[in-house]
Symmetry: C2
Subunit: 160 residues, 2 copies
């Protein structure tokens, strides 16, 4: 079912309300001195299963992108087909691969102007992809990248 | 440079010797009661940067596949283009996405008979993919899957 059709059924969790949870994670990451990308995994009926943010700087851990943090924090799940991965930024190939392998049913994206990963590829495989083009998310990443180009390139695997 | 050409230059780390490190990780995971998949990340000259194994059972952590464990344990690296990801089993889409996003230059695979993920896709993008078709790796996964079908399906996102 398309995300928009769930507006009335998801405990009031509209797409904008779900993005707010991911955005709050990104702001938390920024306040910690980290890369401001946040994500959250929701069940079909709007229950928050887990949320998290990029931990490259905070934990010196390159494996924890926002989406993998949310996925980890949701714990072991037996079926992801009706879950929704919400992220402030278009998922990179690493995180897009996560969505594909675990058959996460929907991806809700804050913005893809500052970076575009594999969301079109996921849509080809039937993932319900929604792009909100949220101005706050765009501004947050635009500022971060301008101030931390080296760190940003490290996080997306762009070598010098 | 193809993996085979490095036989004399990588501190004696032939493809078989590198696979041995990943295989030992998989055996360690099995002994811990976990899913027996191991991986290791090597530099171009044969230095072990990090190794690890699947931790779904041990840590109740669905985000730690063998390849993401090796990637994490290698710490933050600024350039992965000349690194080699060695894994006992064909990388799933999650782990293939990791390789693509971080431009890991080569992937050395123990076997792809019991499971085939995105290694052909990686080869299309120029990743140097080598498949050893190692009998011990095949036997290890064949036995594990036969004895733990539910756990295996959980690990690759196959719902009931």
């Amino acid at each position: 079912m398309p995300i928009e059709d769930h507006r009335r059924t998801r405990r009031g969790m509209t797409p904008e309300a779900m993005l707010e949870v991911a955005y709050a994670e990104a702001r938390k990451g920024l306040a910690e001195g980290g890369i401001p990308i946040g994500a959250a995994l929701f069940s079909a009926d709007g229950e928050l299963l887990g949320s998290g943010h990029n931990m490259r700087v905070q934990d010196d851990d390159p494996s924890i992108h926002a989406e993998t943090a949310a996925f980890r924090n949701a714990g072991r799940q037996r079926d992801y087909r009706s879950t929704i991965m919400v992220t402030t930024l278009s998922p990179c190939w690493y995180c897009s691969g996560l969505v594909r392998q675990f058959n996460i049913g929907a991806v809700l994206i804050g913005e893809s102007r500052t970076f575009a990963g594999g969301h079109d590829w996921l849509a080809e495989f039937g993932v319900d992809v929604t792009l909100l083009d949220d101005e706050r998310c765009v501004a947050m990443m635009t500022d971060f990248i301008a101030e931390n180009p080296e760190l940003w390139n490290e996080d997306i695997g762009v070598a010098e």
